[in-house]
Symmetry: C3
Subunit: 205 residues, 3 copies
């Protein structure tokens, strides 16, 4: 019933969910980029399209927050959440772009673990966004994202140790380091989104 | 006539214009750094002076916003615009500093395209700042900056592909990658300024 | 006597002091990491513990600011100061972690100068935090931090020139550059804290 009288607020939840769904798509495309025999050019093009789609949703949220008098939570938190979600997409796009540009074909096996982790983070984030309305079940979400980020950090360190083990030529180390650090940044960006959600939930409770 | 009764607000526009004019100077010095036979030490010293000048303008704006009761637009937007303009200068300064420090003499030809693009962004930004008062003609400015940033991104990718083509020694790749990424960051920083201006314009309209 | 009537505000000063004391510990552990014959695994573990301790203090401040009605200074400034102090710790932790991960044993001698400088910044910051209550003696603090940051910047440039002098293998350049840039970032992070304190002091004066 509350909804009937606050139709404007409803759309923010829909838009955040839409933004998070773009991340689910982006994480899937990133996984395809790593598959054996992937057509890098074609996959990277699809990633660029997905990133543009996410951009449009972000701009729609910013436009709305700038033109709406009453917002469901603090204006600055809406900005922070929208730009946080947008950052994740930018970083996943960057990873795909680097793989294309550096013409990297061989990567340490543990890299796929980081990508699976990103997919899991995207799924959890997309499932959590609609709960912003009721502010229910959000704690499990941010605790799980923090747990995944810790696991990703451990995996990241194993990958770096592998890259610097002496098995790779220095020019390959340079490329791989860039790629795995961008993966790590994308996971961190999911954690930042979860922290923003936590902050919103604490304020509203 | 409005001006007569709001003299305090006027100075913010002057100061933002001053800040943007520092960027015009900075972009020109950066172009000189890339010229054949440039005296790297001397040019870098002039860049440092220009950067200090820009810093002083930034601090003057921050001091004013902290001590002024009525500001022409939201306090946080004034901070964002001032620090955004300051970031551009820092990044151009960093590029010049890296060229000096790494003793780089040979760069991919496309690098000069990025610097021309930075000069164009600086000119457009300096021309746009006085329009913050009337909020007129700003849309053309931010659309053009976004177009230039897209062109810069395409050029950046061509440069990276060139650097990683195998024609450069790995130690040179390491240096050149740093420099061209800093150039790309400077262009992105201009786009961020344009986004801030867009946000201010949307709020005020 | 003021304290009796504003017990809530008091704790923020205590917490900021606690946060800064974590930085003193962190800077000391970082210095131990660079000592000859240091047990890298053991020292890095202690750094991780120190970083967790700092994290807990940061979260306690964020929780408090979100649940407190009257704060001693602007809510956004409390966030900025808490996250600024937290950033310093993260960066010092990152340096230690890189030294462990990259198995770096030999570093340019000037690196220890940067670490001494970080220790000095930490001591000054810890001494300044209690003065936030009276807003006295803060100017000397931020002027001295800015002076140290300038000295650190000069030293950083000497180290980079050394690293790129041709004496190091490219793979070592890659590792050392990462480490010394992280040291520089940590010093910059101290300066950012000092700038936040300056901003708070100007507003409150």
């Amino acid at each position: 019933m509350g909804l009937r009288f606050r139709p404007v607020e409803a759309t923010f939840y829909d838009q955040f969910t839409e933004q998070a769904n773009h991340l689910v798509t982006g994480a899937r495309i990133l996984a395809e980029m790593l598959a054996d025999g992937a057509d890098h050019e074609a996959v990277a093009q699809r990633m660029r399209d997905a990133e543009h789609g996410a951009d449009e949703t972000t701009h729609a949220i910013i436009r709305k927050v700038n033109s709406t008098f009453i917002t469901p939570f603090d204006r600055e938190d809406i900005y922070a959440l929208a730009s946080g979600l947008d950052d994740v997409m930018d970083m996943m796009d960057e990873v795909v772009d680097m793989i294309l540009l550096y013409e990297v074909r061989l990567m340490p096996a543990e890299v796929s673990g980081q990508v699976e982790l990103l997919q899991r983070c995207a799924d959890l984030t997309a499932a959590a966004m609609p709960n912003l309305r009721s502010m229910q079940s959000l704690e499990e979400y941010w605790i799980e994202i923090n747990r995944l980020e810790n696991a990703g950090d451990k995996n990241h360190r194993r990958i770096l140790a592998n890259i610097f083990s002496g098995d790779y030529k220095t020019i390959e180390v340079l490329k791989l380091k860039d790629i795995v650090e961008a993966l790590e940044d994308a996971i961190d960006a999911f954690e930042k989104v979860a922290n923003t959600v936590e902050q919103i939930a604490v304020k509203e409770s």
